[in-house]
């Protein structure tokens, strides 16, 4: 009996030991085969396509103010703090909070998975992925040749754009022509910033290659609109060459001392006029290809609602439409991926009481200088307009019937808001301004209007949802974006924000021609006038001759340069162009060392409300033209040179 028991126990022990013992290696080999690796991404067409889309995802969200620094990091708009449900990270740049410790809009070292992206994106990761794509795209067995060719061209376009995006911010950048293997030693990974001219040449070569393989037009618009086209590649090339010809990069002596440890001078010190010629040529080619692809300046008369509307409303809607009308004819590159939801919530005024507690933020406020910058109805600057001599801009008067399409009839508001160009009324909501849209598309006789004084009328004053200056941006709100009377929440209409539109190219072409030629001629006037005429303004020459105190201004190169600059700022206001233009022209120091002004929004009565206030003393130094590289990156890579002043 006893012996039996021992035997049983012995057997049990042996079995237990035996079960676990010999298969030790198998026991800890828990990973099954076929676990995903990067190689799987190129096994077939579908996986490869997904990889390509992943590459596209590194494009910045052009209409997201926390992704595109050009939207609110300059002097064009001013916000409040805090804003309900939105932390405007990049606004810090406007407030002088850029630094080397945690750079804002850090597109150089933002690391994936980091919780605080500081409004940047991991651009170099995108470039590495694009190169991986280009290296492997010969692998999918079921990919047809024409498609492979188009995808390669698309990838090259992306590669060029990401380089361009970095170049515009940082100036000289490392060129990620090919991937450095992960096993590379420390020295191999320590890349150099390449000089401006080399960067430009490389991006141009990528764009030339891309333009070869890209289609003129997207045929299947339902599924593919927004994909790169030939026009996009050529427009981007033109934009790049214009940037390279501009004073910031063309012989800018401020950067004379920026030399890396190889002894390479990163910024060309010699001004080369032929760079403008290159730009002009590229612009002409791009414009021609755009025309070929069917692009033309947008006309709101083509909209389905236009037939019942007054001419005034239509004129005001021309440029607002060119931006917000979904895939309108003017758009060369529309951002199909970023939803202009947040920006419309930031811009949309509240009209009815329930909206005060909803997700409308109504705080995207143009600064007073932007308000004043738009032309008069005569198409010339206020300060030059003969009709405006002696007019008290802040003098209050009641609006009449004639103003009814732009200003609420019988409303008391200031002279500054009367008799302005149509683009002003299409771009800015001021106190008493009519608002086309929000459920009033068919008819402009009973328009809503914005009241932006403290605690008044439609929008009650909510501490985290109000305009800091007494103005709101209207231009970026689509007229079908709706917020019904009884509803606290807004339903935003999605449009494809134009990354590049035709008017931009026209104005750039005028600019480049003006620089190339000894004196402005008809060719220079032609393209700027096309843009002006669309919004109901006379041509440059006529306008200045008839209304300006400086009628000869368009005749000189300098005068014309000033006019083109002003035209760009008016036409492309709030679209993220001014931010780069002022830098490119090296004029940011002049513009951004002035205080940010607004109206006195904490007051109810017009007499008090319309007193301009200083909101912020803005400063802009030489260092601010280019982005700082994060200090930790400089510690890691001793070959990098920090930008001037950081």
């Amino acid at each position: 009996m006893k012996k039996n028991k021992y035997k049983i126990i012995l057997v049990l022990t042996t079995i237990l030991l035996g079960l676990t013992g010999p298969s030790c290696n198998n026991y800890i080999d828990v990973v099954p085969d076929n676990i995903p690796t990067v190689d799987y991404a190129f096994n077939n067409r579908n996986e490869a396509e997904a990889f390509l889309f992943g590459c596209f995802s590194f494009l910045p969200s052009h209409i997201n103010p926390n992704s595109n620094p050009a939207l609110l990091s300059g002097d064009e708009v001013w916000l409040i703090d805090p804003i309900y449900g939105f932390d405007p990270i990049l606004w810090g740049i406007a407030k002088g909070e850029q630094g080397t410790n945690e750079p804002l809009a850090n597109y150089w070292t933002t690391y994936q998975g980091g919780t605080n992206t500081m409004g940047g994106n991991r651009t170099f990761t995108g470039l590495r992925d694009i190169n991986t794509f280009l290296e492997n795209i010969n692998k999918p067995f079921d990919l047809e040749e024409w498609e492979r060719k188009q995808w390669i061209a698309e990838a090259k376009f992306l590669k060029a754009y990401l380089h361009f995006w970095l170049f515009r911010m940082y100036g000289p950048i490392p060129l990620i022509k090919e991937n450095i293997p992960i096993s590379a030693n420390s020295e191999e990974v320590q890349v150099y910033r390449e000089p401006v001219d080399e960067v430009v040449a490389y991006i141009v070569s990528l764009l030339d290659e891309a333009a070869e393989g890209l289609p003129i037009k997207i045929l299947d618009t339902t599924s593919d609109l927004g994909r790169p086209t030939k026009a996009m590649a050529l427009a981007l090339k033109a934009q790049l060459l214009t940037l390279a010809a501009s004073p910031l990069f063309n012989g800018n002596s401020d950067y004379a001392g920026i030399i890396d440890n190889r002894g390479v001078e990163l910024f060309p010190q010699e001004y080369k006029a032929e760079k403008w010629q290159l730009a002009a040529d590229a612009l002409k080619t791009a414009i021609d290809v755009c025309h070929e692809a069917g692009n033309e300046l947008f006309d709101f008369n083509s909209s389905i609602y236009s037939k019942n509307l007054s001419d005034s409303t239509i004129l005001a809607m021309q440029v607002r439409g060119a931006v917000t009308e979904r895939w309108n004819s003017e758009i060369i590159w529309g951002d199909s991926n970023s939803n202009p939801d947040l920006i419309q919530k930031l811009c949309h005024p509240t009209f009815f009481a329930p909206q005060a507690g909803g997700d409308i933020k109504q705080c995207y406020a143009p600064t007073l200088r932007t308000v004043e910058q738009f032309y008069t109805k005569n198409g010339v600057p206020i300060e030059e307009d003969k009709d405006w001599i002696g007019v008290d801009l802040f003098g209050i008067r009641e609006s009449g019937k004639a103003d009814r399409y732009y200003i609420n009839e019988g409303y008391k508001t200031i002279n500054l808001h009367y008799n302005r160009e149509a683009r002003f009324y299409g771009a800015i909501s001021f106190d008493g301004a009519t608002f086309y849209g929000d459920g009033h598309q068919n008819d402009d006789t009973q328009l809503l209007y914005t009241n932006l004084r403290y605690g008044y009328g439609n929008g009650s004053f909510v501490s985290d949802r109000h305009s800091s200056t007494g103005y709101l941006v209207k231009k970026l709100v689509h007229y079908l974006t709706s917020c019904p009377q009884t509803n606290a929440n807004i339903i935003t209409y999605r449009y494809a924000f134009p990354v590049i539109r035709l008017a931009d190219l026209y104005l750039m072409y005028s600019e480049a021609l003006n620089e190339v030629k000894e004196a402005p001629d008809a060719e220079v006037y032609k393209y700027i006038d096309l843009v002006r005429n669309r919004s109901g303004l006379l041509g440059v020459k006529e306008s200045w001759q008839n209304f300006s105190t400086k009628p000869q201004k368009p005749a000189t190169k300098e005068g014309m340069r000033e006019i083109i600059h002003r035209e760009r700022m008016n036409e492309l206001a709030f679209e993220g162009e001014r931010f780069w233009d002022l830098r490119r022209w090296k004029m940011a120091e002049e513009y951004m060392n002035k205080p940010i002004m607004g109206l006195n929004v904490l007051e109810k009565e017009p007499e008090e409300f319309y007193k301009p206030q200083t909101l912020f003393d803005m400063t802009f130094e030489k260092k601010d033209y280019l982005w700082p590289i994060k200090q930790s990156e400089l510690s890691r890579n001793k070959n990098l040179v920090q930008n001037l002043g950081w």
């Binding site: 021992y6 026991y27 990067v38 994936q112 992960i182 339902t222 507690g357």
Partner: protein
């Protein structure tokens, strides 16, 4: 003889002193077995039929009476009391009493199964009370070591064992008892919130800077468990609690032992009739110290100043009219001065704990069954309009059943079943969060709730105070608007079989063990949306106000349900071992052991493929010891482990260790006189390697982790619903070179016993070198474009320190005894190698040689005096700053303050010194003890970002406004008083990131000494106890965290920078412990 089903079932009811009735229902393990015969039956019979013979004696005889108890003072019935060398004897009665006739020259021998026999000469005594010590489990003789027990004398490794009585503090969380109790353990507690109050603890500090596990391995009855499981253990159930510190002690755990091991064994039943012990405690806990806020008038004045001082153009938030009326106290609803702390928190919470255990058994089977229950309440107030209670109410239940069965004379089976269950209800976001919220609200905007006005007098809901559109956070509303519940279960079943092969080979035994542990938990919450109100108008003359509802569309009176997370996991552990132990030629003691383990754990809520795969560990370990003549000791250990985390080439790790010892006090020369003073002297040295595979967050280092279709996507199409696909995301790049983190540990120890063991000193000096520490590559620039920075194991760390413990033990006569004990731990860990960029130009940034939890920050010089001072100083690269803001030192002289100017500041954040000392004394039925605990060499930082007053921020759609702590109001830079050394820089109503950098300005010393516990107990006199048919009954009062000595006065220093967390609790406890 057949044993039938044994079934134990009991229920206890008792009335709670505060009208509440508690009902504890414990259905204990029922077990059933059938046995054909019992080989030990004869022995039992022998015992019971012991002859009692009283022999007449010629010389003078007298009657000796006395009582036999165990070391806890419980009477021992059935103890054999015989006159040595004869067969005359008696057996103690139920109360442990005996009386026997003896001659003065006789010696009485007291023996009892499982106890050490004690011999007492009669001489001229008439009463002999004897305390018998447990034999086999006696801590004095054998000690628990890895996978077994070892004669304490022959141990060369560094093992610290704590008396389980010392763990008995009035807390339902065992981890809170650890600090300062054991040499070699660094422990601290940062929150007092029930359910969130686990202390952090580390064995000999943290010697790794990897992102993996740095906590010790915790084993309960050989099975790996979590910190939570440890926290739920009841000290009464613990047989032994040890920490294994050096390489020799932990080498057997190979893969898992690098950070030290906490080894706990639970009690087992002992032969004898059922012993029942019951403990009931009721405690009153209140915060040790709460942060003080300033008064509302100062708040408003300073809030106005904060706005004006930064931007004179801005309008002030609080009008003079409001301030004046608040000072006058016009109407407390219209001009509120809300003391949020007082509105939300009670002063005292009452908690209960009960524990019952029953043990006993016969020669065939022994049992230990225990059940415990605890209820912890938070100190939150409740709203009388709610019928639910959102205060924290954490109930913990624990049942345990340890059954030992002698299957045969040489075979023992052990079944252990344990279940712990937690039920919690509490506020939606937790108690700690509510504390944070009280400092994130203005005291003057609105009261917690309004008394209804005429319009709203019939409102069914509470009229919570709010502002604007109701988006301002009202912490009181946050507290009472709903509640969260969770339920956690841990079930553990364990089977163990021990076989003694002594019949064939003397000293050979074997053991197999299987265990499965299952965890499950779920949580959910219910809440309504509060209606917020504010004053619409106020008629000053009639003192009548009208309210307005701020969020009529959003508020609800009914509850919403939010499902929470559901977690399940299970693990299986098996172990088999063979042991051999023998004495050769009397003087050579040898032993050997081989252990094989395998562990498998899977979780039911994996987030991706790799985390869904089972975690496995497998290993073979061995120990070989040799002792010569109880003087010279040698020990060799090894662990050979496999880990699935590494590539095949690095999968297996071999971790040997070696130890030698010399017991000088056993040498012949020692016996002459030296022995009387130094009764024991042992010197021991160990050296060895231990591995760690829990080195990072990655599951498989040798594989890339790629999520195809898991990256970001891109949308095309005219209507934004065309082509859309998601790209690839790479979370980890494959690296087949990553392998074990290895610790090389050496230990020099000395054990000294003085004056016949009255004083015992254990001292260890230890050194450690950790190699192969996983770290991210430091020199990979972002331009390489990797998704994830590659990791390599190249880091190395050094650790060194001492730990000393000392105890003093003396009984002066039968009535007075005293025990003193103290311990001290110093552990410092530093970076030995850390891959970092070339810092030769800025050497102060380099980590090498610095402590692992060292903080780097800016050296704050003073506050800027004025704008001219700012212009003359180097540019500070943190955004806006000006006069009254913190001025930092430019370390590298490049005229800009940025990352390169960070220097190591202060001491490490993990304290390098932990110590504790205390005294227990008893006189007759009274006993008294106290214990101090301290920590030193640590720094912490006041969190300037969260403490900065008047700052509005948005969170979950609500506006928070930071309140004003009193210490800021008392001493800050203002234009009126421009003190460049003021505690707080210039005020602001938004964040000035210049001032919230980690710097010396907000650095504080974390050292403290705390009166951790005091206890006074009283054993009811026997006469009384006997009447109640009890064996013993002890009443006691104890207190924890009674007093704190520290330079830091704003809140409990042990919470560190977390001053706005749930405060640590001071507990006063009443308890009773009954044995029957």
């Amino acid at each position: 003889m057949k044993k039938r089903i044994k079934f134990i079932f009991f229920a206890i009811n008792w009335k709670h002193m505060k009208k509440k009735t508690f009902f504890v229902f414990l259905c204990m393990f029922c077990f059933q077995f059938l046995m054909a015969n019992s080989p030990t039956q004869d022995e039992t019979v022998e015992f019971q039929n012991l002859e009692i013979e009283v022999v007449e004696n010629q010389s003078i005889t007298k009657v000796i009476v006395g009582k036999v108890t165990d070391k806890e003072g419980l009477p021992l019935p059935g103890v054999t009391v015989v006159v040595e060398g004869s067969t005359r004897g008696v057996i103690t009665d139920l109360n442990g009493k005996y009386s026997i006739e003896v001659k003065p020259i006789d010696k009485l021998q007291f023996s009892f199964i499982g106890m050490t026999t004690k011999i007492v000469p009669v001489e001229n005594l008439t009463k002999i009370d004897v305390v018998l010590k447990e034999k086999s489990e006696s801590i004095g003789e054998v000690s628990v070591v890895a996978f077994g027990k070892q004669k304490k004398e022959s141990i060369v490794s560094s093992i610290e064992t704590i008396n389980t009585k010392d763990l008995r503090i009035p807390s339902s969380n065992l981890t809170t008892a650890l600090a300062g109790r054991m040499a070699g353990l660094i422990a601290y507690q940062t929150s007092g919130e029930p359910g969130q109050d686990n202390a952090e603890f580390f064995v000999r500090g943290i010697t790794s800077f990897g992102t993996g596990k740095v906590n010790p391995l915790i084993l309960i009855d050989n099975v790996e468990v979590t910190t939570d499981d440890l926290s739920r253990m009841h000290p009464d159930d613990i047989q032994s609690f040890s920490i294994l510190k050096d390489a020799t002690a932990t080498a057997l755990y190979g893969a898992r032992g690098a950070n030290g091991v906490i080894l706990i064994t639970t009690k087992e039943g002992k032969e004898g009739s059922a012993k029942i012990s019951f403990r009931l405690e009721n405690s009153f806990s209140s915060p040790t110290k709460e942060i003080e806020l300033s008064d509302p008038i100062t708040y408003m004045n300073m809030a106005n100043e904060a706005v004006k001082t930064r931007n004179p153009l801005n309008s002030i938030p609080y009008s003079n009219e409001k301030i004046d009326n608040t000072i006058l106290g016009t109407n407390k609803y219209v001009y509120p001065t809300t003391d949020w702390m007082n509105d939300m928190f009670r002063d005292v919470a009452i908690n209960q704990r009960a524990n019952l255990n029953i043990s006993g058994g016969g020669l065939v089977a022994r049992y230990y069954i225990a059940g415990s229950f605890s209820q912890d309440n938070g100190i939150l107030k409740t709203d009388n309009k709610n019928n639910f209670n959102s205060n924290i109410d954490l109930k913990k239940y624990l049942i345990r059943s340890n059954i030992n069965i002698n299957l045969s004379k040489s075979t023992e089976a052990i079944v252990r079943v344990q279940g712990t269950f937690e039920d919690y209800t509490g506020p939606l976001t937790g108690g700690g969060d509510l504390y944070k919220k009280t400092l994130n609200v203005s005291p003057v905007r609105f009261p917690a709730y309004y008394k209804p006005d005429e319009t709203y007098q019939y409102a069914q809901h509470t009229l919570f105070g709010g502002f604007d559109q109701g988006q301002y956070m009202n912490p009181y509303a946050e507290m009472v608007k709903g509640y969260r519940q969770y339920s956690k279960t841990m079930m553990l079943a364990q089977f163990e079989l021990k076989q003694d092969f002594g019949q064939w080979i003397k000293g050979l035994t074997a053991r197999v063990l299987g265990n499965t542990t299952r965890y499950s938990s779920f949580n959910s919450s219910r809440s309504f949306n509060p209606f917020y109100y504010n004053i619409a108008s106020y008629d000053r003359n009639a003192d009548i106000y009208n309210l307005m509802q701020l969020n009529p569309e959003k508020g609800t009176e009914y509850l919403d349900y939010n499902p929470g997370s559901k977690d399940v996991s299970s693990s299986f552990y098996s172990e088999a071992s063979v042991m051999y132990k023998n004495n050769l030629a009397e003087k050579h003691e040898i032993s050997g052991m081989l252990v094989f383990i395998a562990r498998n754990a899977i979780t039911g809520d994996a987030t991706d493929l790799s985390s869904s795969l089972p975690e496995r560990n497998i290993g073979l370990s061995g120990r070989f010891t040799y002792a010569f003549d109880s003087r010279y000791l040698a020990e060799f250990n090894f662990g050979y482990n496999g880990s699935e985390k590494f590539d095949k080439g690095h999968r297996w790790g071999f971790f040997p260790s070696l130890g030698i010892g010399w017991i000088a006090s056993n040498e012949a020369f020692w016996q002459n006189g030296l022995k009387d003073i130094i009764s024991k002297l042992k010197i021991k040295v160990t050296y060895g390697m231990v591995g760690n595979d829990a080195i990072g967050t990655e599951r498989f280092f040798y594989l890339s982790r790629v999520d195809i279709g898991g990256g970001n996507g891109y949308q095309f199409g005219s209507d934004f619903n065309g082509n859309y696909e998601k790209g690839v995301k790479i979370s980890h790049y494959a690296n087949s070179d990553i392998g074990w983190e290895i610790a090389y540990k050496s230990n020099l120890g000395i054990e000294v016993g003085l004056f016949d063991g009255k004083i015992n000193i254990l001292a260890d000096i230890f050194k450690e070198r950790r190699t192969n520490i996983l770290q991210v590559r430091a020199d990979i620039p972002q331009t390489l474009g990797l998704w994830a920075t590659p990791q390599v194991n190249v880091g190395e760390a050094n650790g060194h320190g001492v730990d000393i413990s000392m105890d003093y033990n003396q009984t002066f006569d039968n009535h007075f005894w005293i025990i003193g004990r103290g311990n001290f731990t110093y552990a410092r860990s530093t970076f030995r190698f850390y891959e970092e960029p070339d810092y030769t130009e800025v050497p102060w940034i380099s980590r090498i040689g610095m402590p692992i939890s060292q903080q780097w920050g800016y050296h704050a010089e003073r506050l800027f005096i004025d704008d001219a001072d700012v212009l003359n100083a180097p540019r500070q690269d943190f955004g806006e700053y000006g006069a009254g803001d913190i001025k930092y030192k430019d370390m590298n002289g490049d005229d800009v303050i940025n990352e390169l100017d960070k220097v190591p500041i202060g001491s490490p954040t993990t304290p390098e010194i932990n110590y504790g000392f205390g005294l227990s004394a008893g006189y007759k039925n009274f006993d008294f003890s106290f214990f101090f605990q301290g920590s030193g060499h640590s720094s912490f930082w006041i969190k300037a970002y969260t403490m900065a007053p008047f700052i509005q921020s948005s969170s979950d759609g609500q506006i928070l406004e930071t309140g004003l702590a009193k210490f800021i109001a008392d001493d800050y830079w203002s234009e009126a008083s421009q003190n460049p050394q003021a505690k707080w820089p210039r005020l602001s109503n938004y964040h000035i990131s210049n001032n919230t950098q980690t710097s010396t300005w907000f650095m504080r010393d974390g050292a403290f000494l705390r009166l951790k516990s005091v206890e006074i107990g009283y054993n009811l006199p026997e006469s009384l106890v006997n009447k109640a048919k009890l064996k013993s009954c002890r009443l006691y009062v104890s207190g924890t965290n009674l007093y704190n000595f520290s330079n830091f006065k704003l809140w409990d220093v042990e919470m560190g920078g977390n001053g706005l967390g749930y405060p640590l609790q001071r507990v006063i406890n009443l308890g009773v412990n009954i044995s029957l």
